[in-house]
């Protein structure tokens, strides 16, 4: 790539041709303030805070959009520039209500930081402080229009990253306001609460309800981890303070590129289930608190009474790999007991999992078969919608009603799978996304596309891939059990799991939260909460992703490894 030589504040810089002044300045470690610019969003050049002076040019120009040229000389903090920046700030502060003292973002606000940087101690325009509405119709976060500077970062994030196109601006001039769809309240709008807009907002206009006023950047820790709510394993940063997870934000450097979904960003913290923090043992028909020693005793004797032919063991596919390994080693390896998986598995284990989100970006044709990414693996769904916006064609083959159907160019029944396969054959860079609704025969039909298309599985459980590698068969295997061990960890009990469930003579459950299953148990073993555990799982792209402990365990919960380590000791 050809390079361009320029000078920024007298410093010589070499920048790739086509870079903006802002990009060149960052190479030279010169800090130019920005508000509407965001590194992961398209440049807009609307706020004018980044104006700089270019030698021999009469006007100031925005650094975030102006391309560099050979011999260019730029001043980023000249008296003229500084005066103009103060003027821009003055206008921004005068327009709406910025009483920082009452704002949740105070201390972390990009606008406020600039006011300090340019020593604003008053605003010179009489501020009318117009009464602006607050939209609090969404469950997890709100929009206070009086703190909005109309930078439109949220709008670009919603359209270009989440591909949801909910946001717009209504009216014009001083009446301009962010709005949803045809000016609906957010609660009624097409918003899917992915929270991408919330994360890019530079001011206190978009505010997370749960963590509001609970800690500023300087007071919190950030723990990089992976969301384990589905097999995508999106990169997250857990924002922690005082032994509590305040908020989930996204990791912009991972495959999800800053986007999360409601199940990853908000729902994990909306914990309504009762936590299990101590072992419980059934005595006289009642579950009562016990010590670990008593619980292990009860477990060992329960298993011994049924041993070995009457024991069954089943795990959720939400359990991390390290724990799942120990579980299989103990029950299958040591006890010779059949082990099963609670969630359904994907048919077509012969199909590869060799595609990723980058392949979706590059695809000209995407075949979605037997699943609905917008329901089960939403960030993948958003990415497919993004590909559609860029011109990719999506066909949906499904026997059910799906969200994805609204965006697909064609919706076919499962019987028409072959015509979709034929179309795929003719495409340049096709991607096949396949889900659990396919039968083995249908999956076999897709296998013809091996080598032609990239395959992305919609595993029904986050670590379903690992379960498949370990040879765990989907459940039903608990029929005929005298003693049953269920490894749930923090998995949510799904509707339907208990339909064919008959309580065996002895039931032991390892879980972090109370559920109808733990209520029936003879022994309940406390698991670590989702933010207390550490380990890895295999994500949809076939990669090992890390889950990091964000908070020291608060109760008496043990990791799965510790549990089986102690249990092995007791059973010998």
């Amino acid at each position: 790539m050809s390079k361009v030589n320029l000078k920024i504040n007298g410093k010589t810089v070499q920048a790739p041709a086509g870079s903006t002044i802002l990009e060149a300045a960052r190479l030279a470690e010169v800090d130019i303030p920005v508000l509407c610019h965001h590194p992961k969003l398209a440049n807009l050049g609307s706020c004018r805070i980044c104006l700089v002076e270019i030698a021999r040019q009469p006007n100031l120009h925005p650094a975030c959009t102006y391309p560099v040229f050979e011999g260019m000389e730029v001043q980023t903090e000249s008296p003229r520039v500084v005066e103009m920046r103060k003027f821009v700030l003055d206008m921004l502060f005068s327009e709406r209500n910025h009483h920082c003292m009452y704002c949740e973002m105070s201390g972390d606000c990009e606008l406020q930081n600039l006011a300090y940087r340019y020593r604003m101690d008053r605003w010179s325009f009489p501020s009318p402080h117009p009464h602006m509405p607050v939209d609090a119709t969404r469950k997890y976060f709100l929009l206070d229009h009086s703190r909005c500077i109309l930078c439109r970062r949220c709008l670009r994030a919603c359209s270009d990253l989440a591909a949801n196109h909910t946001l717009g601006v209504k009216n014009r001039g001083a009446d301009t306001m962010i709005c949803a769809d045809m000016d609906l309240s957010f609660g009624e709008s097409s918003c899917v609460s992915c929270g991408t807009c919330l994360e890019v907002c530079p001011t206190g206009a978009l505010v997370d309800r749960r963590s509001a006023y609970m800690g500023r950047t300087a007071e919190v820790q950030r723990v990089r981890s992976s969301c384990a709510a589905c097999s995508l394993g999106c990169g997250v940063e857990l924002v922690v303070r005082g032994g509590q997870v305040l908020r989930v934000e996204s990791d912009w450097d991972r495959h999800n590129e800053g986007v999360l979904c409601v199940a990853g960003r908000f729902e994990p913290l909306e914990q309504t289930r009762e936590k299990i923090t101590r072992p419980l043992v059934r005595r006289d028909g009642q579950l009562q608190e016990a010590t670990w020693v008593e619980a292990l005793d009860a477990l060992v004797s329960g298993l011994r009474q049924a041993a070995p032919g009457g024991i069954r063991a089943v795990t959720s596919g939400a359990v991390l790999s390290e724990g799942m390994n120990e579980f299989v080693n103990f029950f299958k390896g040591k006890m010779g007991v059949p082990v099963h998986l609670l969630e359904p598995a994907l048919a077509g284990s012969e199909l590869a999992a060799d595609g990723g989100l980058k392949d979706v970006d590059a695809a000209d044709f995407i075949l979605v078969a037997g699943g609905d990414p917008l329901a089960s693996h939403r960030v993948l769904g958003y990415r497919i919608k993004r590909a559609i916006d860029k011109g990719a064609e999506v066909w949906l083959v499904s026997g059910k009603e799906t969200e994805m159907a609204h965006f697909a160019a064609r919706c076919l029944g499962l019987a028409e799978l072959d015509s979709a396969v034929a179309h795929c054959m003719e495409s340049r860079s096709p991607v096949v996304v396949y889900g659990a609704d396919l039968t083995a025969r249908e999956a076999g039909r897709l296998a013809r596309l091996r080598g032609k298309a990239r395959f992305i599985p919609l595993a029904p459980s986050p670590n379903g891939h690992r379960a498949q590698v370990l040879g765990l068969e989907p459940a039903a295997g608990w029929a005929g059990a005298k003693a049953l061990f269920v490894l749930l960890e923090s998995a949510l009990l799904q509707e339907g799991w208990l339909q064919e469930f008959r309580r065996p003579q002895f039931l032991a459950v390892y879980a972090s939260c109370r559920s109808p299953l733990t209520d029936q148990a003879d022994v309940v073993l406390p698991a670590l909460q989702w933010y207390e555990r550490q380990g890895t799982f295999i994500n949809m792209e076939g990669r090992n992703v890390d889950v990091h402990q964000a908070v020291e365990p608060g109760g008496e919960g043990w990791s799965v490894q510790k549990l089986f380590d102690r249990l092995s000791g007791c059973m010998t």
């Binding site: 909910t166 946001l167 717009g168």
Partner: protein
């Protein structure tokens, strides 16, 4: 309800341009002419035809003051309140209209007959004060004229 005939006309507008979205402005005029305003239902319909988001359609509508998103009366009075007209008595005109009709600027009478609005300069300053009634300009308008006019319109309706 958008009639089948309107739908056809809108579709024709979209396919008349190399970029479908170029047909949006004439389509908005058409819908407002036929139904008096652009309803949420129409916005959804237009977003489908022009392959734009609902928000983008709403942005376009609200950018222009003459597109309406709410039904208006049969007779729409738009009183210019800019400098020339103000100096020549537009405030009094507005007050008179407001009193006779019993509504404030921006409102419509309960019988759906009259809407009263403020408007920016109508580019007819030489004839100030100016009031626009539907598509027509009333020039050098006086309070007496306004009273007579409304009496007449009421008879008509």
């Amino acid at each position: 309800m958008i009639s089948a005939a309107t739908k056809e006309k809108v579709e024709a507008l979209a396919s008349a341009f190399p970029q479908r979205r170029s047909g949006l402005m004439p389509a908005l005029h058409l819908i407002q002419q036929e139904s008096g305003y652009i309803s949420p239902e129409a916005t959804v319909f237009l977003s489908q035809v022009f392959e734009l988001s609902r928000a983008q359609i709403h942005e376009t509508i609200t950018f222009y003051h003459m597109f309406r998103t709410r039904p208006a009366g049969r007779f729409i009075f738009q009183v210019c309140t800019n400098v020339s007209c103000m100096l020549r008595g537009s405030e009094e005109i507005m007050q008179t209209l407001s009193e006779i009709l019993g509504i404030q600027p921006g409102e419509t009478t309960p019988d759906g007959q009259f809407t009263l609005q403020e408007t920016e300069c109508l580019a007819a300053c030489g004839a100030a004060p100016v009031v626009q009634l539907n598509e027509e300009y009333l020039e050098h308008v006086t309070c007496r004229q306004i009273r007579e006019l409304i009496a007449e319109l009421r008879k008509e309706s």
